[in-house]
Structure formats: C-alpha cells, structure tokens
C-alpha cells in the first residue's frame, strides 16, 4: 500500500515554474532588455549596454529575490495561523498581525515627531524591521490571549479584525499629528513595494527570514497533531505552549520583517495556503510547508510582473495587485460548494 504520497512530480513541476517565473520576472521591466543580455549580466560576459547590467544586478535581481521572500514568508505565516487557530480564514492580514506591524512602523515614522526622544533613531531599515516585528508580536499575542478565552473560531476572527481596527485608528491619530513629509513616507510604504531594496538591506532581510524559517523544524511534527485539536495533540505528547510560542515567534518575525521592508501586503498569507491545498490535497505540514513556500514565491513573482506593467514606466502598488487578485480568490473559495480546510 501507499501510505504517504511524496508528491515528487508536483514539487518538481512547481520548482520549474518557480525558476521560469524568476527569470521572466527579471527579464521584464520598464526598460526592455533582451533575454540574452539579461543572462549575460549574471556572468562577466559582454552586455550590449553596460547600464543594463546595473539594472539587472542591482535593481531587478534584488526585487525578484524580495518577491520570493515576501511570497514565501507570508504564505508560511498564513499556513501556521490557519493551523494554530484551526480556522481556514486565519492569516496575518485577517488577524490584524500585518496591522500590528504597520503600527510598529507608523510609530517609528510618524511617532518620531510626537515623542522627541525617538527621533534620535534613524528610520533605518533595520529599526523598521524591529519595530514592525514588535508590532506584529504585540497584536498576535493579544489575539492569542483573547483566543484562549473564547473557544469560538468566529469570535477569534472578529477579535482579530477589532485589533486591526484599533491599530488603524492609532495610525490615523498618529498621522493627524505628523508632518506632510512623514505622512508621505508612511503612505508610500503602505502601498507596498518589492523594489527599493539595496543588496545590503536584502542581506538583513534574508538573514532574518532564514532565522524565522529555520525555527520551523521544531514544529512540523506538532503542527500535524494540532490538526486534531489541542487535547488530542497534548495526549500525543505535544507541548502545546511551546509549539504555540514558536508559531507566534516565527509568524511575528516573518510578518514583521516582510511588512517592514515591503509594506503591508494583503491576502497572500490567506489565499496561498488554500491554493496550495487545492493542488496538493493534503493537510500534512511536511508536504504543505515546502509547498506553500514555492507557491507563495511563484504568485508573488507573478503579482510583481503584473504590477510592473511590462514595458511601461508605471509600477502599480503591489498591495493593490495582491488584493485585486486575492480577494476574488477568497470569495470564490467561500462560495464554492466544496469545503475549505485548515
């Protein structure tokens, strides 16, 4: 008998897709660069025009890598949330965690004028990452504490939405008191953007990302038992508190760092795990975690290509693209007759 499918072919195809879209993503942009020259840029080969190399290496490549990290990280966070809350509609955005990260950044950018002391800090990308992670952690902890008091999953979602509203309100108040310049900085950040990251920033991003993802090895097994609910998981030897705390830490690190560098990006965390479950038809986290990582990365690369409006000078806010495509997916999931699963 075949107790556990390995899904090798599916994984193989997805990886090919990922590579294809990675190169497509790099090849497309406001300046049209022939395929051949894109490739030569990676090596020391001659490129027709030297600026092309700079565009590819210092602009497009970091952006594509950012897209992969953002897509993968948000999808992993979404999957973890859905399992932890045993709720198919959980996700970093729905539960107000992205808003928490936004609050952290808002306090850093906008609050600087309110509290004079903080302005001493540079709004460097590293301090943004920390502020966003702290904000995410704060809201996630609050939601989790509330979730322990009410067992009803619907209430948990509503509580998450309420926390989201509270943080938005605080951001509005902060915005009211801040200068036009700061406000502009914050609003542009809020649109979401995958570009604008220098290689140095990307290194920090990548380092924190790997830090968060590596913690996953501690919870793959417990996550599977959590599928039967906490009491069963406990009876099978799972340390619930530890598992929950690790999920909490991973999610706030990933959501925090992603939100800090790319703005609050909606729907990816919610929609990708469901799309992945449609493809893989399993709830096993040993399969799902790598799967959502790849699917999330692919979708983010595609979203970025759409946002780029190939050959045009304009770049649409990435947040608008993910919402435009993500929201219908969620609606479609809900009205479809088939059940949706955690």
């Amino acid at each position: 008998m075949n107790p556990q499918k390995s899904y090798k072919t599916t994984f193989f195809l997805l990886l090919i897709l990922l590579v294809v879209f990675f190169f497509l993503n790099i090849s497309l942009g406001s300046v049209s660069i022939p395929f051949k020259d894109v490739f030569s840029s990676f090596f020391d080969d001659a490129v027709n025009k030297e600026p092309w190399r700079t565009i590819v290496i210092n602009y497009r490549l970091p952006k594509a890598i950012t897209a992969i990290l953002v897509g993968a990280g948000l999808s992993i966070s979404g999957l973890l949330m859905q399992t932890l809350f045993r709720n198919p509609l959980a996700g970093p955005f729905v539960l107000g965690i992205s808003s928490g990260a936004s609050l952290g950044v808002a306090i850093l950018i906008l609050g600087a004028s309110l509290i004079g002391g903080i302005s001493a800090f540079e709004t460097s990308s590293f301090s943004m990452a920390i502020a966003a992670s702290l904000g995410a952690f704060l809201v996630l902890s609050a939601v989790l504490i509330a979730a322990n008091k009410v067992r009803n999953t619907m209430s948990i979602l509503i509580i998450g939405l309420m926390f989201g509203s509270i943080t938005s309100a605080i951001i509005s108040v902060l915005a009211y008191f801040s200068s036009a310049e700061q406000l502009q900085q914050f609003i542009f950040w809020g649109f979401g953007s995958l570009g604008n990251l220098s290689w140095n920033e990307l290194k920090i991003f990548g380092f924190i990302f790997i830090l968060g993802v590596s913690l996953l090895i501690f919870i793959i097994k417990p996550l599977n038992s959590m599928l039967l609910g906490e009491n069963y998981a406990k009876s099978m030897g799972v340390n619930i508190k530890k598992t929950r705390n690790i999920v909490l830490i991973i999610t706030s690190i990933l959501t925090g760092v992603i939100t800090a560098f790319s703005g609050p990006i909606a729907f990816v965390g919610l929609a990708v795990p469901h799309l992945t479950k449609l493809i893989f038809n399993t709830s096993n986290h040993k399969i799902l975690l790598p799967a959502v990582t790849i699917v999330g990365a692919i979708l983010m690369l595609v979203a970025d290509m759409i946002a780029q409006l190939p050959t045009s000078e304009y770049t649409l806010p990435i947040n608008a693209i993910t919402s435009l495509f993500g929201a219908p997916i969620v609606i479609w999931l809900l009205i479809r007759k088939r059940k949706i699963f955690i």
């Binding site: 008998m1 107790p3 556990q4 045993r86 198919p88 090895i217 501690f218 793959i220 097994k221 599977n224 038992s225 599928l227 039967l228 609910g229 009491n231 069963y232 406990k234 009876s235 099978m236 030897g237 799972v238 340390n239 479950k277 038809n281 399993t282 709830s283 096993n284 040993k286 059940k339 949706i340 699963f341 955690i342």
Partner: protein
C-alpha cells in the same frame, strides 16, 4: 514485574475534581478513591451533568485536578512529561475534529507521534502498528479515504484505531458510542472487550448504555451525587447500588432485563 501481586495500573486517592478560577472553585465531585490493579474494561455511568467527562478529562491530564492524587503505573500523573504519558495513555474524545484534509491512514499515523523522530517519519514498525490497528477495527478498506467523508460509526472506529496505534496500556474513551446505531454500539463494546481480553489493555469509557455496560464491563463506576461506587456489574445489581443512579420515581431498574425501564 509481571508476577507482582499488586501491579498498580491506576490509583486514585481522595481526588477532588472540578473547575477553578481565580475567584471561585466549583467542585464537581470530591473524595474519589479508586484502585485498578489488573487490565479491565471499566464503564463509567451516571446521569447527564454528573461529571463523567470531568473525571475522565482529569484522569487523562487534560484538565487539572483540584486536590488529591492520581497515580498511574506507580507514578504521580503530575510528574509525567506529556511525551512519557503519551506512551502510557491514549484518548478518544467526544469533541468534534477540526476540518482538515487528513486521510484515515494519516490520522491513525498521528498516533505514532510519541515514537517517531523530529519530522514524524514512519518506520517499518510504525507502519506495522498502524496496519495492525486498522485490522483490529476492520477499517483497512478506508485507509485512503478522507476522514470527513466517513459516517459516525466509521469515524469512531478510526479514532479508536488511532488510540490503538499509540500502543498504550490505558485507553480512555469519552462516550464512544454516543452517535452510533445499535449495531455499531454493540460492535464497539465487543471490540473494547476484545482489546482488554486479548491485549491486556485497561480501557475506561463513559457511557449511557447501561445495558451494554452491564454485559461487557469487568467493572462499573457508578457516579452519583455523593460518591462513585465501583464494582463488578452483577454485584452492583445485587446490592441495588445501580438503582441509585437515577433519582426519578418514574423509572426503575429491571433486574431480569438488566436495564432501566419505565414504571
């Protein structure tokens, strides 16, 4: 060890169960003293709301006790790590499973988690244990089905299989026959009895099927407002303890039929 005259499986001393919060403690039952020294099928019976689930939840460590002692295999329940306990005691609960995409095989395989490595890979032994558990409950043909497609009767067997795969001496089941038809109820009792007789497991279940419990259990725990009366079913019928289960004057226990009837 095996020949030890008094090999204690479960020993409950002066146990008080219930719920406590910062302000008040609501006691469900107090002064419970029970000893189990040999593998048995134990049926916990009592009317709705008397605290059967609370007792089982406390015994399984899901819910903290208020006071007293629970000793499992010569060791205090509190001193077990959750991983050690998971190799001694498995559970079948009444709570609804969250909806997920697990297959029957995967669900039962989760029962092997106390024994698997960090990522949960199944060894040959694990797969054998899982197949054995499925054979015992006659559900091999369901192996690849998603568990949400199953009927209540099938799902109950799957959950019992999962507990079996966990390979524990003690299995606690909270109302395992609640949603089942007569045939499945009887089959479940037979299966549990078989597990006690053939595999030397100690099985504690709560149930409202007093008639079936009398026929199959080695021991009944009658839970009443004042105390828990333990003993062999026939003995409890003879000394009329079983009559104390219900306080209504509209029903009585029919000794011949071995069940409660309307007066």
């Amino acid at each position: 060890m095996e020949n030890n005259a008094k090999h204690i499986i479960l020993n409950i001393k002066k146990l008080t169960i219930g719920y406590s919060s910062k302000k008040l403690e609501s006691v469900v039952a107090r002064g419970i003293n029970i000893e189990v020294n040999e593998p048995k099928l134990i049926c916990l019976v009592g009317k709705n709301g008397i605290g059967k689930s609370t007792l089982l939840r406390t015994l399984s460590g899901v819910q903290p006790k208020l006071s007293g002692e629970i000793i499992i295999r010569n060791k205090n329940l509190n001193t077990y790590s959750s991983n050690d306990l998971s190799r001694i005691m498995s559970l079948v609960l009444t709570e609804k499973l969250p909806e997920s995409n697990l297959t029957v095989f995967e669900l039962i395989a989760l029962g092997r988690q106390p024994y698997t490595n960090w990522i949960g890979s199944l060894s040959q032994t694990d797969i054998e244990k899982i197949n054995e558990a499925m054979q015992l409950t006659n559900i091999e043909h369901l192996s690849d089905r998603k568990y949400f497609e199953l009927s209540d009767g099938q799902l109950q067997k799957v959950l019992i299989s999962r507990a079996l795969a966990q390979d524990t001496d003690i299995i606690i089941l909270d109302e395992p026959t609640a949603h089942l038809d007569v045939q499945h109820k009887m089959e479940t009792f037979l299966l549990l009895k078989e597990l006690v007789d053939d595999f030397g497991k100690t099985i504690i279940i709560s149930t409202h099927e007093i008639h079936l419990a009398i026929q199959s259990a080695n021991e009944l725990w009658l839970m009443t407002e004042d105390e828990i009366i333990c003993g062999n079913p026939q003995k409890l019928i003879k000394n009329e303890s079983i009559e104390k289960l219900f306080s209504s004057d509209k029903i009585e226990f029919d000794v011949k039929k071995q069940q409660f009837t309307l007066k």
